[in-house]
C-alpha cells in the first residue's frame, strides 16, 4: 500500500511543475480571445520535453510509461490551466489509435502525435434532436468502396486546429469510427464562444468521402472504442481538475492569510477555516479516487467503476470548490483581472467534459448491479 508517487514519478512531477511555473504563467489568460486558443510555442516545447509520449511505446516515439504518469503531469497542467488540445488529441485520439488502429495507422499517426506535429480531435457528440433544426441529415453511405459521411457533431474541442478528426457515426452494426482529414471537401466548422474560452466547436460533414482504409478498428469494435475514448477523456480530466482545484485552494488560503478585516486576517475566522477545510477534503477525495482509477487502468484492468466514481466526484467538486474560492476572495473573486474567476469558468468546462456527476453516477449504479 503506497499513497505517494514513486521517485521517478515525483521527479517528473517536479520537472513539469518547474517548467510550467516559468513558461506558462498567465498563459491561460493570454490565450483567451486569441484565435488559436492556446500557445503553439508552448505546445512545441512540451512535445520536445516528451510529455506527449509518456504513455506511448518507444517504437512510436514515446517513453513507455503508464497512464498514472500521465495523470500526474495533467495535475500540474491543471494548476496553471494549460490550454490546448492535449487531452482530446494526445490522450483520446492517441490511445484510440494505439489500441485499435491498424499497424499502418499507428505508424502514420502516433509518432506525429507524440512529437506534437499533428492534432487529431475526436468528433463524437450528436446534437440532441428536436431542439435546434439541424440542416444536415445524418447519413452514412458506401460508394465505390469509400464511405460518404454526413452529419453534425458538437463540442469538438479545437476543431479549428485539427489536422484530422476521429469521426464517430452509426451503422446498422453499431458505432463506427473514421480517421478523416480535416481538409477533406465537405468538412466545415464553427467555433463557439464558451464560458471557459476553450474553443469547443460545431463540426459539419456534408457528403465527406472517406477511404475504407481510414476506418478505425475492426468490425464490432465501435462500442469498445467509444468506451475507451470516454474513459480516457474522463480520467484525464480528473487529473486536470485535481490540479485546478488544488490551485484554487492554494490561492484561497494565501488570500485568507493576508487579507485583513476587523483587524485580523480573515483566515482566522471560523467560517473561512471551515470553507477551506471542506475544499481540502473534497480535493483529497478527488485525488485518491483519481490516482486509484489511473493505477487500476495502468495495471491493464477494467477501471470503469473507478473512473466514473472519480469523475462524478471531480465534477461536483469543481462546482463546490470553485464557488468557495470565489466566496473567500470576496469582491476580487469576480473581477476579470484576477485569476480566481478564470479557475471558476474553467472548472465548469472540466465538470462537463466526458460526462458530469449525474452521468457518471448512472454508470456507477449500473456497475453496482442495479
Amino acid at each position: 500500500m503506497n499513497f505517494s508517487p514513486d521517485k521517478e514519478q515525483a521527479a517528473i512531477q517536479n520537472a513539469v511543475r518547474e517548467f510550467l511555473a516559468k513558461e506558462a504563467k498567465d498563459l491561460a489568460r493570454g490565450a483567451e480571445g486569441t484565435e488559436e486558443g492556446y500557445s503553439r510555442e508552448l505546445w512545441r516545447k512540451i512535445a520536445d520535453l516528451g510529455w506527449m509520449g509518456v504513455s506511448f511505446p518507444e517504437e512510436y516515439g514515446g517513453s513507455g510509461g503508464e497512464f498514472l504518469d500521465l495523470i500526474l503531469i495533467l495535475e500540474e497542467m491543471g494548476k496553471v490551466l494549460v490550454p490546448g488540445p492535449f487531452i482530446p488529441s494526445v490522450i483520446c485520439s492517441g490511445h484510440a489509435i494505439l489500441k485499435y488502429g491498424s499497424e499502418v495507422q499507428r505508424k502514420e499517426f502516433l509518432p506525429k502525435l507524440t512529437n506534437g506535429s499533428l492534432v487529431v480531435i475526436p468528433a463524437l457528440i450528436d446534437p440532441v434532436p428536436d431542439t435546434i433544426q439541424v440542416s444536415i441529415k445524418e447519413q452514412m453511405e458506401v460508394k465505390d468502396g469509400d464511405y460518404i459521411l454526413s452529419g453534425v457533431r458538437l463540442f469538438v474541442p479545437y476543431a479549428h486546429m485539427a489536422e484530422w478528426f476521429i469521426y464517430r457515426t452509426r451503422s446498422e452494426k453499431g458505432n463506427m469510427f473514421f480517421l478523416v482529414n480535416a481538409k477533406s471537401p465537405g468538412v466545415s466548422y464553427s467555433v463557439f464562444d464558451t464560458i471557459a474560452s476553450d474553443k469547443q466547436c460545431e463540426v459539419v460533414f456534408e457528403k465527406v468521402r472517406v477511404p475504407k482504409a481510414n476506418v478505425l478498428g475492426g468490425e464490432g469494435d465501435g462500442e469498445t472504442i467509444l468506451r475507451g475514448i470516454n474513459e480516457w477523456g474522463a480520467l484525464a480530466h480528473c487529473g486536470f481538475i485535481l490540479g485546478l482545484l488544488e490551485q484554487v485552494l492554494k490561492m484561497s488560503v494565501e488570500y485568507a492569510k493576508q487579507r485583513v478585516q476587523f483587524e485580523k486576517p480573515i483566515g482566522s475566522f471560523q467560517v473561512i477555516q471551515h470553507q477551506c477545510a471542506d475544499m481540502a477534503t473534497d480535493i483529497d477525495e478527488v485525488k485518491f479516487l483519481t490516482y486509484q482509477a489511473a493505477w487500476v487502468l495502468s495495471k491493464g484492468l477494467s477501471a470503469k467503476k473507478e473512473i466514473s466514481m472519480a469523475k462524478a466526484r471531480a465534477s461536483d467538486a469543481c462546482r463546490r470548490v470553485s464557488l468557495l474560492g470565489v466566496k473567500i476572495h470576496g469582491g476580487l473573486g469576480i473581477i476579470i483581472d484576477q485569476d480566481m474567476q478564470l479557475y471558476f469558468r474553467r472548472a465548469k468546462a472540466a465538470e462537463l467534459a466526458f460526462g458530469d456527476g449525474d452521468f457518471h453516477r448512472e454508470i456507477v449504479a449500473q456497475q453496482l448491479g442495479l
Binding site: 500500500m1 503506497n2 505517494s4 488560503v253 473561512i272 477555516q273 477525495e285 490516482y291 449504479a365
Partner: protein, 383 residues
Amino acid sequence: MDFRFSREEENFRQEVRDFFIKEEKVTTEARKEWDSGQGFGPYCWEILRKIGSKGWLCPTWPKKYGGLELPYIYRYIIQEQMHYFTNIYATVSAGMAGPIILRHGNEKQKNEYLPRIAAGEIEFALGYSEPQAGSDLASLEIKAEDIGEYFLINGQKMFNTRTHYAQYHWLGARTEPTGPKHKGISLFIVDLKTPGISITPDWTLGNMRTNQVFYDDVKVPKEALVGEKNRGFYYILEALDYERVSTTAGLERDFKDIMDYIKQSGKGKDPLIRQKVAELAIDIESARLLSLRVAWILNMGKVPNYEASMLKMVVSETEQKLVNTAMQILGPYGQIMEGTKWAPLNGKFEWRYRDSLETLVTRGTSEIMRNIIAQRGLGLPRG
C-alpha cells in the same frame, strides 16, 4: 503508488476473516451485546480474549508486551474485520490508552497494563469530558490534589462512556489550578473500584449508555500518574489522533444491506434512487481511501496530522449520508421500529438513524475537525 494489499497482507486478511467466521456464535452474540448500547457483555469479553490470545489486539506492540511487532497495516486489517463482524471498531485500552502508556508510561506501568491490554483482559474508559468541558477540554476542573503520599481527587465527569464495565479510568484531572489551563492537567490510570467513585447512567437516543462519574475524596496512588505531571493535555491530544482512526467496514456492511433491500424490493430502476445510491457508494469509497491513507502514514511510523481529523469527519458525515439515504429510500416505513412485520430490515435503519448522531459529536465534533484541518493542515491562523 499502489492501492492493493500485498499477497502476505491479503493472506492475513483471509486468515482473520476465517477466524471470525469460525467463531460465528461468539461473534454474533458479541455484536448483539455491542449494538444493544449496554457495553461489553460476556461474549464481547470472550471474543476480545480470543483475539488477544492471538496477539491481534495490539499486533504492532513489542513481543514482550504481548504484541507481534507487525507493521501497522496488519492492525488495520484486523480492525477492519473486527469492525465488520462485531461492530466494535476500537477498544480504548488497545487503541488509545495503550499507545500512550507505551510511549510515555514508566516501565512498571508498561508491565502492569500492556500485557493485560494485549490479551484482551482489561478495558479502559476515557475520563475527559465534564459538564463544562467538551470541545473546550482544557477547561476541565476535576481536581487532583497532591497530598504527598497520594493524590486526592474530587470532581465530576460527564459522557464518560464505558466506565460502567471498564476496569480503569483514563482520567484527565487538574493538578495545577493557576496558569494556562492546558498546562495544568495530568493523566491518571484509576482503578474504577476505588472507594469514592460513583457512576450514574445517561442514555442516548440511540439506546447507548454513557455515564456521569463522581469522584468524592478519592485516594489515588502516586504510581497512577502517567508521564509528567501537568503534561497530561498533550498526551490526551496525542491519544485523540489515534482515537480518530477508524475503518469504513461498518459503512460498507450497512451499504450492502441497503443494496440488498433495493434489489429485493424492485426499486433499482428508480433514477432518483440510482443517483443517491451511486453517490453514497462514491462517498464510502472516498472514505475508505482516506482510511487507508491514514493506515499508510501510521505504517511508515509517522503520526497522522490533519489526516486523522479529516478521516473522522468524513466517516461520521458519510454515516449521516448513509442513514439519510436509507430513510429516503424506505419512505414512511423507515420510521417504524423493530417489532412488527412492517418494519423493513427489522427496523435497522430506524435505529441507525438515531444512533449515528453519536459519532457526529463524540471523538471531536465535525466543527472542531474542520478547525484542525484548517489550522494544522492548511496553516491558517488561530482565531
